[in-house]
């Protein structure tokens, strides 16, 4: 049994009057890939956005319950959101590089957190991050070109490089491959396999095959409830809940 990195306890989330998550409790293991699957609007994205408090940006969103990372409550009043997000990186559904150069995209995080003291440190961080995101060889000659000029798959890897540039513990991925073609998707999945040796990864995905390929544990969400969470093999071969069975066999969703 791996050590537990993140623990959510009786999490309820409301958008105004509407409740989006109902009593979700689950844990995620350190340096493993945890996949969250479920039909659209089931609350899996809402859940993942609670883990780095991205829901704070939405005024009407209210979070009740407890989320602990390494035993610390991230919704505690003395928690600094900026520091939390430095430790919990995020990759979004649509690649969203800043309209800046490739170098500046990756250097953004280290700059705002004052991680690199000298220019040479910054360059080292950028190169290492790009290497870890398996993008460096493709862009090493054009680091000053616009990040938005890259292909979709490259842009998404640039966003991964940006996320790991501040050396986080956890990387949240919100359907990172849904805007990519199968080849770019395969590269990102391969990359996840490499990244999990260093980072705890939580991935929201629509593709059950993807969840089966990359994750060690899988949670199935339906209508805002966590129906079932277990080892990935168990979920896909012998689920205990009828709804999970129906979903993975393609009867709905």
């Amino acid at each position: 049994m791996k050590s537990i990195k993140i623990k959510a306890d009786n999490l309820n989330v409301y958008y105004g009057e509407k409740q989006a998550l109902f009593d979700v409790s689950m844990y995620m293991e350190e340096k493993q890939v945890t996949a969250l699957i479920g039909p659209s609007g089931c609350g899996k994205s809402t859940f993942i956005r609670c883990l780095n408090r991205m829901n704070d940006v939405i005024d009407i969103c209210k979070v009740q319950g407890k989320i602990e990372i390494d035993g610390n409550d991230i919704y505690a009043p003395d928690m600094q959101v900026e520091q939390l997000r430095e430790r919990v990186g995020m990759v979004f559904q649509k690649p969203n590089p800043f309209p800046k150069s490739i170098f500046e995209n990756v250097a953004y995080g280290p700059r705002i957190h004052g991680i690199a003291e000298h220019k040479s440190d910054l360059e080292e961080i950028v190169v290492n991050s790009l290497k870890k995101a398996a993008l460096f060889d493709e862009v090493k000659d054009r680091l000053n070109d616009a990040g938005t000029g890259l292909s979709g798959g490259q842009q998404q890897r640039l966003c991964i490089a940006r996320a790991i540039s501040v050396n986080p513990d956890i990387i949240l991925m919100d359907e990172p491959c849904s805007a990519l073609d199968p080849i770019a998707t395969a590269r990102i999945e391969e990359l996840m396999g490499e990244l999990k040796t260093e980072y705890t990864i939580i991935i929201v995905t629509h593709s059950m095959q993807q969840a089966a390929r990359v994750s060690s544990r899988t949670g199935f969400f339906h209508l805002g409830k966590l129906v079932e969470v277990d080892k990935t093999e168990t979920i896909f071969s012998n689920p205990s809940d009828q709804r999970t069975q129906d979903y993975i066999t393609g009867r709905f969703g």
């Binding site: 940006v57 900026e82 520091q83 940006r162």
Partner: protein, 463 residues
Amino acid sequence: MGFILISLIILIGIASYFLGNLRAKNLRTSNQKNLKSLSHYYGYYVALWAVVPALLILLMITSFKSFFIEQYVLSDFIALGSYTETELSLLFTQIENTALGIKLFDENTILINGAVNKLNYINKTSENLTYVTVLGLSGLLVLYSLFNINNKLNSRKIVEKFLLVLYFTCSLVAIMTTVGIIFSLLYETLRFFSQVPITDFLFGLNWSPQRVFVREAGDLDTRDLANAFGAVPLFAGTFLIALIAMCVSVPVGLLTAIYMSEYASPKVRDWAKPIIEILAGIPTVVYGFFAALTVAPLVRDIGQGAGLTVSSESALAAGFVMGIMIIPFISSLSDDVIKSVPQSLREGSYAMGATKRETIVKVLLPAALPGIVGSFLLAVSRAIGETMIVVMAAGLNAKLTANPLDAATTITTQIVVILIGDQEFDSPKTQSAFALGLTLFVVTLALNFIALQVVKKYTERYD
């Protein structure tokens, strides 16, 4: 006469709409004919035939009528061959006056009396003739088009085509007006530059067109003209006041835009934004009061308190108020541009642990920069074209100065000054206004063009 005739044509048009509609319906029911369009399109079709050619003919008649009447009435005098063109047109005026019962001269009474009779006769005949022609044409075309309705005629297409022509004509009106304005400006400007060399106008340091009046028109020597029409002080004044205005409006407008787009709650936005935009709707004359009666004395008092000499009309006061006036241009446009930066970029920045300020300064503003620059350029061209505030608050003195506490004047203000009151249109003084106007036009056109290009480049970015 025109009013009655036009009303009649419109009445015929309305009636023929119903006629066409009715006939199409009858054809449909009685003959089982398959008409190509809905019956009301046939109504429009007949009505168009009734109205459009009649109005065109009326337009032609009215524009050529006076010429023919004049020729006819004056035919006896023209036959004499001893009158020049100017004399003839004077005579015609005299004849018209006599016809109205105003008698001024007694010469040529027989000829004139004959001409007056001719005028009365022709006026009456031409009026009757116009009625007959226009209404006759209208009626004939209504009959023609009514009989034209059959199952081969697609009236919907014809109506659509007519509307196309109508839209095109309307857009042509705006375009032709612009072209006309440019040409009249160009024409007068060229006349001006034939008297004053263009280099003297563009690079001369002394602007005092009133000096030209002191001498006799025949006595003008070119050196004197050149000394009077050096526009550099005006360019400098315009630039100075626009600069002061931008120094006020850029920071205030930009910070307002950032507050409105990123910080303000929807409730605050809902009432604050319209109020800011009201600033743009206040007549500039009212800003002028504010500048001349409130700000200028304030600037003077503060300046004197600080031991500076400030003239009671200062570039600073005018520029300051102008800056306030153009705040909404910058804040409103920049607000839209900042808001249109995709939400995903904001989230990307927040997810990196950036604060709101870091996100705005390092991601949003760079991304929105082209649009923001576009709004600045639009504001500048507005500032350069502004007249009233300067007239009221900055003075009329064309002094070459860089001191914002001094009186200054701008291109637009001088145009006003030059064209107020009685003017002779061939004096270089009057024509210089056109040269100034053309200069202003070229500058604001260039600025607008650049601004639009910049904004366009921006909008293509996130597709």
